[in-house]
Assembly symmetry: C2
Homo-oligomer: 397 residues x 2
């Protein structure tokens, strides 16, 4: 028996597990202190009433013989029509026309971002922005792929553009970006689509944070760009949009027009999902279908507004201290420079020990993240304000 | 860009998708006919009241700021203690002692049975019983592994035993078996554990149907066998146990004692799951935790009893016609010989067209399945009885 030795090339622990462990150890050693977490991108607002109502009804359906649901429908890889229709409708409002067969309901963007790699040969070259959500790198390390990095630094506004002298087959883009909060304009994305089409590459476009975009110049979907259906897969999530981090639902769009080596990637993904996945809970799907109703959208807009205010509170605080940062607008993340030339983990420890505030060390997102630190707007307003007071007190004393 | 060309070696469609498509086409062409499905192993009884109550409470938790839950706990790969504790307790009653860190909550055994392969190098040799649940074969074809088959035929009671002259690294066992309904005794499993330990192999033990076992000579968990913790991973499911096919929850046991090439497979799986998975819905986990309560177990025992009676109805029908079969006891599946020397798909069409009853062609489970047909006990009592009447009428006319 041979294990997959590529696992041994990974860091021993997933970034957020390390943050969680260090935080837990601090709390255990200092009982009674109130530690505020602005680290992992976990939401704090309860689910929207429309979602709650839909889920209660779905639970009731499961209690009666006449309305009980077993496996989800075969036809669209276990996705229910009501949910697929609501997603088609939400894309239509962005001017994008999709077939239901192009939408795959999943238990979250993270699962699909990893599992999609099953479709690609190990010898493809992967291009990943640095810094970025560590899942892109770790999943490709596990598969033994060659990984190139595109530097995201202050010089390019944390938005790397394609270098046509570099050959890559699989390209990750995350916009609005995790962790930097930077988001591509439609004009910038056109260049990436041009690159992918020229190189016969596939863009894996992570749109988990698109609902935070308010600036109309920014792309909310890669499919707003002409030609993207021939070269992109888009990963979407209800986690941040509708507070589903603990509910687990996302959707992945694999266009019918996406063909590589004469093979439909839509068909390959359908085959992968029907073989290694069995769909998402009926109750979850009914809750998700309520998100894009008129009532649901009104309610989630309130939650998104709440988080946007948190982002503004953090931004004001950093402005007051004179710390440089990006994000916080069109994004729930604030990407700040560590003060006093501190390293990322050094500042993590400093902030945890002296202000009892937890953030995420930028270096955990890639080498260009060293010296940076990520704060999230997903806390409660009270906690966010309190954390900002503590940060201000600590850094201006 | 190179696709994973191993996908092209797969049959065009997953077995149950083909059965579903053929059935849908028949229904569309013959509106008004009542087609009875005893094909896919999907349940029909509603969820137990204890589960429904727990889910309603969990939905309410998600509606309030104070009790809202985001991402599941880091510590055990997003599994909640109350659920993990209930599983530890259910194993303890079988005389098996587990740590919570050995249990991984998942969205179903099917996902984990596929995803577990990430841990193993492509060059391992896989041994799969024939016939068997097609997921074992298809997922390994996708990964490009060499697959050997162990014949399961009437000669060995559909329970292949290890051949020490064959070298295999990864061995699938499914007991009670899908599709044959045959189940290993503890004595038989000892031989497989001996084989795996000798060959440094890993047993992937699919225990999805263990709750149908009533015969005390049969193993309900591979970990009842001494030494199994050094060579086995066990996959469990709430789908058939508690009717969770549409809820999606299972659990996988990777013992701490399972070491290969000096590496803990428990640690590798934890790393895989924390990177490519984000846990199971809080609502689902709370529902699952209610399954192994005193009240929950009493209620699911009723449902299991209902399905067992269905199995007996089918068995009586086949006995009456004089058709040979296995299963139906300690298993929800009946594995029958196709009458009159018909092939599996031939009988599928014959039964669909002439009795409007859908089963699953045995050949879809492997070459030894040719000439066999699988019926399931998961229908309603009325449908099962009606289907049996039609089968009797058709085959004795």
């Amino acid at each position: 028996m041979k294990i997959n030795r590529h696992f041994l090339e990974l860091h021993d622990s997933y970034l957020f597990s390390t943050v969680g462990r260090k935080t837990a150890e601090y709390i255990a050693a200092h009982p009674g202190r109130k530690v505020i977490r602005l680290s992992i991108g976990d939401v704090t607002r309860p689910l929207a009433p429309a979602v709650i109502d839909a889920m209660h009804r779905a639970v009731d359906d499961m209690s009666k013989k006449e309305t009980f649901k077993g496996y989800g429908p075969d036809r669209y890889c276990y996705g229910y029509d009501v949910l697929l229709d609501s997603i088609v409708h939400s894309y239509a409002r962005k001017g994008i026309s999709l077939e239901k067969s192009e939408i795959f309901i999943s238990d979250g963007a993270k699962s699909d971002l990893g599992n999609i790699l099953d479709l690609f040969a190990p010898e493809n070259t992967v291009l990943v922005p640095d810094p970025v959500y560590p899942v892109y790198v770790d999943t490709n390390v596990m598969a033994g792929r060659k990984i190139l990095f595109a530097d995201a630094t202050a010089r390019n506004g944390f938005l790397p553009m394609p270098d046509f002298s570099v050959d890559a087959d699989i390209i990750y883009l995350c916009s609005p970006n995790n962790p930097t909060g930077a988001a591509y304009t439609k004009e910038q994305l056109k260049e990436w689509v041009r690159y992918a089409l020229k190189k016969d590459a596939v863009l894996l476009y992570d749109a988990a944070y698109e609902y935070f975009i308010t600036d109309p110049a920014l792309a909310r979907s890669v499919f707003e760009i002409e030609g993207a259906k021939e070269c992109a897969i888009e990963f979407c999530s209800y986690s941040k949009t509708a507070g589903f981090t603990g509910v687990r639902c996302g959707y992945t769009v694999v266009p019918q027009a996406l063909i590589r080596e004469g093979t439909s990637l839509n068909k390959l993904w359908a085959r992968r999902q029907s073989t290694k996945f069995n769909g998402v809970s009926y109750i979850t799907q009914m809750g998700a279908a309520a998100v894009f109703t008129e009532e649901g959208e009104k309610q989630i807009a309130e939650n998104l507004g709440y988080y946007r205010e948190n982002a503004a509170i953090i931004a004001d605080c950093l402005d007051g201290i004179g710390i440089r940062y990006t994000g916080g607008k069109n994004s729930p993340y604030i990407w700040m420079e560590c003060p006093g030339g501190m390293g990322s983990w050094e500042f993590f420890d400093y902030l945890l020990e002296n202000a009892n505030v937890v953030g995420t060390p930028g270096s955990g997102f890639g080498k260009n993240g060293e010296g940076f630190f990520r704060l999230t707007a997903f806390g409660t307003k009270e906690d966010t304000a309190e954390a900002c007071c503590r940060i201000r007190d600590l850094l201006t004393k």
